[in-house]
Symmetry: D2
Subunit: 347 residues, 4 copies
């Protein structure tokens, strides 16, 4: 076990934390040596997530009870805002993937505007690498601190970034109509997350002011080399897992949906986690459930000069913990698919 990577998980009692445990359980190079959960400190993981009965795991502890010098690698699954100071306090020897929103926005003013307070770790922010692996693999390799993308950004950027980068679609007028399962809201107690408030109904939320919009815009702007402002509307689907982005785009003159499809096909050839459907076919969230896949479909719209691009992920895997493990694999030089090979689970 001497050559095992010693991993700590900050915030292990939420769904992204438990999903990390699920995935890392099969990672041949990883040993989980610490897990924190402030409210549940002292409990065993099985008392918080009974699915792990029988698995050996460290006791849940408070953040400041852990000797972080023992950790080679840390996943941080804490709520945004609380994360900056805790990460700043970790030993510099540890490499980190942060699953919160704290280090995603490069511009501190944008952060302050959308999150309501000044950023508390500006030096770290400068160092952080935006960890959408497929788009940023080289930088992730050598990063000490990776900001794991939000679920909506991961789902939206994977299809749109290459199209903007190649100048195939116009930066103006992009509409992203997005839908997520309920686990994205986490395990905290909110009336809107109650079963009876979610089942047998559908609604939009955060219309025109969801915090993932500036994150998507930041990354698309880099690709387009032009300021991007999106119409972005998230909706809540009565299901546990799954996320879809239905993106309506305007084609540059002379470009067709077939060109978009061909470019994505070329861009993502060889990518283990991107599956492009034949042109005209569209993906379903259920066919990526539990897996690290992002499935993408491209369809020519009936409106001339427009196309519809649909992408789906499992919000807890490719939209969060799976992507985090993928980033860890890249950072540590492991095969990128390690512990992420399992098939989607349908039905």
């Amino acid at each position: 076990m001497n050559d095992m990577l010693k991993v700590g998980i900050l915030g292990a009692s939420g769904y992204t934390g438990s999903e990390l445990v699920r995935l890392l359980a099969r990672h041949p190079h990883v040993e989980i040596i610490a897990m924190t959960a402030e409210r549940h400190a002292g409990k065993r993981m099985v008392d918080v997530f009974p699915q792990f009965r029988g698995r050996e795991l460290p006791l849940l502890m408070k953040v400041d009870e852990v000797d972080w010098r023992r950790a080679d690698f840390v996943f941080c699954c804490l709520p945004h805002g609380t994360t900056q100071e805790i990460i700043a306090g970790l030993p510099h020897s540890a490499r980190i993937v942060d699953l919160s929103a704290d280090f995603r926005l490069e511009n501190p003013e944008t952060y302050a505007a959308w999150y309501g307070h000044a950023h508390k770790a500006l030096e770290l922010q400068k160092e952080a690498v935006y960890g959408l692996t497929e788009l940023n693999r080289q930088a992730v390799k050598t990063a000490r601190l990776v900001a794991n993308p939000g679920c909506y950004p991961a789902c939206t950027l994977l299809p749109l970034a290459p199209l903007l980068q190649a100048g195939l679609i116009t930066p103006q007028g992009i509409v992203v109509d997005a839908k997520t399962g309920v686990s994205g809201a986490g395990r905290s107690l909110k009336e809107g997350s109650l079963y009876a408030e979610v089942a047998e109904g559908f609604h939009a939320y955060g219309v025109a002011h969801h915090r993932h919009a500036p994150e998507i815009e930041q990354e698309l702007t880099k690709q387009a080399k032009e300021d991007i402002l999106l119409s972005f509307t998230p909706h809540l689907v009565p299901m546990n897992r799954g996320m879809m982005a239905t993106s309506y785009v305007t084609l540059k003159d002379g470009i067709t949906a077939t060109d978009l499809h061909a470019h994505l096909s070329k861009t993502y050839a060889g990518e283990p986690f991107i599956r492009l459907l034949p042109e005209g076919q569209t993906p379903q969230t259920r066919h990526v459930k539990g897996s690290n896949y992002c499935d993408i479909g491209v369809v020519a719209d009936r409106v001339p000069g427009r196309a519809i691009v649909i992408s789906v992920i499992d919000n807890l895997v490719k939209g969060s913990s799976g992507l985090a493990v993928q980033n860890m694999n890249v950072m540590m030089g492991y095969a990128e698919t390690t512990a992420l090979e399992q098939e989607p689970m349908f039905p």
Copy 2:
């Protein structure tokens, strides 16, 4: 009972048929005198829909077993294509609301292009009135044959038609991202309607070729006095009932989302079934479930010059059988809300 309206239901063994029975059960002026169901002829309704145990209803019969001269009024819930000839065969004395798609498209060529065969009752088509009551009440009053709108058109037209009619939004570039519950697919046996194929997942279908697109476009074109071509994408939500249209629109110069809201407020003042939310708030399907309401919300987009308009209905009520009863009430001179007053059922 002499002054009761004698009503027949063609196709009573599907969900729109049973929903009509549910609603008409409380209608003080209606007596159901015939119900047809080819495959179930000879059975009692309770054997097909056990929720009606204890209610007196006619036996299910085949269409040609019924003496239609007894019927004052007929609801037709048959699949499209089969309906034209059957309605053509009804006595002229009966007034009719057809819930199929057969008489919605005014242009026979459009019908043929989207439904794959020539229209078989062109004279009736000319006579038919498009029955979105709020937009077409005067014509409905005197119509003999009302074409009940599709669910997506009902949900989409109620917010958008007044805005186009008043010239507040541009006819170009409208994106309608729509979502429906599963009952809209009916009770017929399709793999895609199986529980295990629907639950815990989300997908788009009919992308860029759904048959409700030309219907919406026909009606919006009338309002805009200009040809409308939509980006329209329907999605399937794992829930029984409910429908939402998230519409992205471009404001005419100088117009704001507040203007849209004010215009809808004025247009729909006094309408019993349209509930406009305060500007900036958005509706949820669960809050109209079981009712004939259409709830509408208007939000200014972050993209300057654009707005997001969200409308929700119960697809089986305001999107189908409830709207049909509303049309009947108008045609027969009953109070328009008769049998449609029940509150939404949440949760």
Copy 3:
């Protein structure tokens, strides 16, 4: 409006409160004059339950802000334990249906043992009438305070009480395996009520120690004239509404399942809300959803001398608010079905 019954609702911001509003909205003799909600005092009902948009309702108030002398009738939907003192403080002129557990157990020691504290209104307890209308209609008629049964007791007692009363089944060895939808847990914030903790899963809870067991036993004991001790296991079904009791009973010598069926048929002939299925058929919760029906099925077991009796209700209607309205109708001399006639809503 002078002859309208002036009704107050204590605890209107939970699901039983909103269900009362839904049902009473169509009651021709009722005017809601006060609704309380401690946490939401000062808000409009539409801000707490948006399905009521457009309906005129009193503002939500705190209990002690209401002038209760104005109320002819009070429904109490408060959590158990808090209810006793509040009801004791109401003017004696008001008649009351209490939907909490506070007045259901006649023996104060049983109450203290199961609810963890001494009963605080013993005089009221003596006066209270157990309000399972079908079994206790005469006493309900003249009661000032009716203790509305728990949902599991309502669902279980309706089929079993007549069978024990008639001596057709043995008091020993009854197994009641019960299942409920999630709305029964109310709107309070509990991790176990979160969508992601309920959907796509099934579990038992309160095994061998659920508080409805002594309530069922108390009422069955009255019928059997012999102490009854039950095996009672409730389970949580991932659905909003609906409740089923699957009861396994031992037949007295010489008695058959057909005798059980015949006796229930005779007992409940003429009861508007009890629907007995043909022998051998079993009911589904979806066919009573939204209605005040209790559907009952009786099947002979393969094990000689045993039968299986299955009963279903909507836990928020016949298991709670609908039964409360039924009791009010009986108490006030209105037609018993008033405001409770609506059809079940399926799907």
Copy 4:
């Protein structure tokens, strides 16, 4: 690849077939060389189950198009009744796990009585070994043909068989109240499997005549050495996966629930797929989802001399395809947990 086990799957287009593919995808010793699907012959698996996009799999073929001499091992996922002759036609060199009901009932008369026709392969029936691995591991090891248990029997026998074998509970009066997710009904088109007929509702089915009852009774009778007749009632839960058996048992004189717990603890010590909860705790289906675990809880009933035993499995894994792979592992001498180590997926 020479030492890979060459595996064929008969009936790969149903849910048990796709679940086998999901599990075997990670099996280091297995190569799938043939998959059949009569209706879909000629298609690729990805066209029938899009979750397998990107995975190399044989084309779907008809049964008689396959050269079965190439197969070392065959999983048979065909509907019962069709299976007997097809398996009789396979080369004797192939070892077989049959997931249908065809070889589970040892008594041909019982088979004929419950399945409506005489058994067509009596010699094979004599040879077949009942494959509940934990109870029958030695016989499975050397079997050529293993009859994979039904899902309800697997879930019920695992807790009850050891208790009867040890004489801790009485063979009389056992009540098994069972619940399953919808995937157990398979992918065939039945009205009762439609989303709108399953969601938001709950019902029992096959009451007192489900075909899994005689299978459970056969195996329990072997353990008890006394004829067992069960009260067995299956119910349908609106969820995709998961199964629970709530078993009500009578303790032999002097025996307590603690004794039951202790005996199960001892019996299943070292079993990799059986997880016994602490006494008094009860399991949830969601905590075994996607895994091969059977979780078991034991609770003392309030009724003296009785206990409640609750067991849960994923019906598609431990109740079907996972158990089949476990049997294959035992038959071939692989580590029993191979390809079955993945964690449950919650939420």
